[in-house]
Symmetry: C2
Subunit: 402 residues, 2 copies
């Protein structure tokens, strides 16, 4: 059901990162639901986490551990978010880290836990303890595809991508995986993404590059306006390729990282719960970025716009109504231009005389739709990606516990 | 399909107000879609309008006319919103006012136009002109029920209510009608409501009383977060009962007006598009009203909370996640308490040990559900009403042009 999305066939290994996906039986039966990612010593690790105040126990622990050590293991489970679980949930997450630490001779603070799935149920610790020995035994560099499948919840397809670039005459690799299908909204949503590179990047630079890429990708998508308690995006730089990213190379690496995150974020929208359309909201010539994003997200979240998209109905009045209620200080509708694909709907706030319903219908019949809003009131621009609101969205969210 | 809502059988006339509903064929066939409300000379009239910047042509004209004259006629059509119609739409609305002015010997500025229905289509003027003579001929005091039906769009039932109270030994009457089923959100939404009383109330007081009632009723409901281009709420005080509302009577009248608006606003939610639940979001002991309302509306608008309500799923994790992403400055989750009806879910930010899924299920199986959030961090409180997100909501909005 995903919109123009087919998983790539080849996902490249990254030296210094080994993975292992096992069926621990945490919630799902007969599928891999526990992922271990081992990070070589000497790596740098950066992370971006949910801004939700009811953040999950593992997120609390990640933040705590990251301030103390560079992580050596990531433990990720699907099926249970360990969120809304109070002190007991936090104790469970600690116990899981301690258990893996005991088996690997590490400090528990060198381990970062991640969970995704249903909120409000206690996370059982035993499946982790029981599965760790075999998971450790199976760690391998070429397990990225299995890893992408193990972190899925309502996703219908795994999301993974690799990129190569040459820096200082040496080839370096970036590989990333992500999951997320609902509760998707800026500031990370129910989204987990792990990206690794064999380049060597100093920790502070790594963190700032990750934040920059996240804002242009994972923080620019919305399915339903609901941000999650568990979102996390981690970037690992192992340095095993023997190339330090610095000076003039920074922009090139950033660009590649942006493209990778962009691909994964769009894959999340293409596979969004019940999605039948892939929609780009482009706001241009805005007074500032904040205004552009407020308008883009107001339209992207509007249930009336989203149901019209589902119906392939060129009901542009709903787009105008959503623009008009955007929480922005400055909006001069007499300058505004609105386009649906290549079809011009509104010019200087007035309906375009040559517009025909037939032209609008042709645009709306497409699976990929771009709504372009020109404010003609400045130089800022943004793009936001979203899906439509379909019967399947209601079915999935009325029937699935997330 | 409305949730615990049956139209009242008796709607009382208000001396000084005559109404007439006719089938003008503006969009719908074989149903009344044009309403005239005639207001006696010497009345006071107050109005509250949409804050949407893409407000409709009739709203622009209402605002303009209200600054110049006390209105003598309201002209209301359903089926076409005359929004997003640019200068031509404004000219049509002016022509409609002029036409009625010519027939009644009034100035066009004594006439207020209102439209509701599909956005982005030009409003035909001819059906108005053709229907005005018979509409004028049929004006009568006892046409409130027909009026309530004539303004319906996706409403399944008309909304009307009367109240009586005694002031200064004399009985006075308040009667109101409303429409609205989708695009419902504070600052008026696609909602039209007309309230009349035979009390005499000075204009400035009337406006402030109307605003106060609106905030507690029509500005405290949401169906889908989409505010409309056309919302209007009008309060007419004819003075025909010969009682001036002043001093000690003001609170009593305000209270009755609040109850009337409250009834109509709740009727809109009970008859909301696809609604199967009537949901009250109560936020208590908040630091301030703004915080309380931001949290209440964030939960009330959450598609994930709304689909869980539709599924009767006690998935309180989604409520926590919505609270946690509310755009508020101050939120101490370690003080927060959460109740579903009489069932206690969260105490001081931690899951209540005695909570059982069965207890939650019993609450969610009800048609009327109260979600109560105690912040234990101040004295402010608010209540907001909403509906669930059902398959019928998607069907209605994918198939109906609004």
């Amino acid at each position: 059901m995903a919109v123009n999305y087919t998983p790539v066939s080849q996902v490249l290994s990254v030296e210094g990162v080994r993975l292992s996906a096992v069926a621990a039986g945490i919630r799902y039966k007969d599928r891999e639901d526990l992922l271990l990612i081992e990070i070589a010593e000497g790596s740098s690790v950066a992370g971006v986490f949910t801004q939700n105040r009811f953040c999950a126990a593992p997120v609390l622990l990640c933040r705590e551990h990251l301030t103390r050590h560079t992580p050596r293991f990531l433990v990720i489970n699907s099926g249970n978010a360990n969120a809304g679980t109070g002190e007991r949930g936090l104790a469970s997450a600690r116990e899981i880290c301690q258990s893996l630490a005991d088996l690997t001779g590490l400090s528990p603070e060198q381990i970062l836990p991640f969970s995704t799935g249903v909120i409000g149920e206690q996370l059982p610790v035993a499946p982790f303890k029981d599965s760790f020995p075999s998971a450790i035994a199976n760690l391998a560099q070429d397990n990225w595809s299995a890893a992408a499948r193990a972190i899925m919840t309502t996703d219908t397809l795994p999301k993974a991508i690799s990129k190569k670039l040459t820096l200082g005459g040496k080839e370096i690799t970036l590989t990333g995986i992500a999951k997320g299908a609902g509760m998707i909204e800026p500031n990370m949503a129910t989204m987990l993404a792990y990206v690794a590179t064999d380049a060597l990047i100093e920790q502070e630079l790594l963190q700032s590059m990750l934040k920059r890429s996240a804002d242009l990708s994972f923080n620019s998508i919305t399915v339903d306006g609901d941000t999650s308690t568990n979102d996390a995006l981690v970037l690992i730089a192992t340095g095993k390729a023997g190339v330090l990213v610095k000076d003039g190379d920074i922009e090139l690496f950033q660009q590649t990282l942006n493209e990778l995150c962009h691909y994964l974020a769009q894959a999340i929208i293409r596979d969004a719960e019940g999605a039948t359309k892939f929609v780009t909201l482009s706001v241009e010539s805005a007074p500032d970025l904040e205004t552009a994003r407020a308008i883009a997200f107001t339209v992207a979240r509007s249930p009336l716009v989203k149901t019209a998209l589902f119906a392939s109905d060129p009901n542009w009045g709903r787009i105008l109504a959503a623009i008009g209620r955007s929480p922005v200080k400055r909006l001069d509708i007499s300058k505004l231009s609105l386009w649906l694909g290549d079809t011009h709907l509104i010019q200087a706030g007035e309906p375009v005389e040559t517009y025909t319903e037939q032209a609008g219908q042709l645009e709306m019949d497409k699976q990929e739709i771009t709504i372009r809003i020109e404010l003609n009131d400045g130089d800022a621009a943004t793009a936001v990606w979203t899906s439509d609101l379909s019967h399947d969205y209601v079915t999935i969210n009325a029937e699935y516990r997330s």
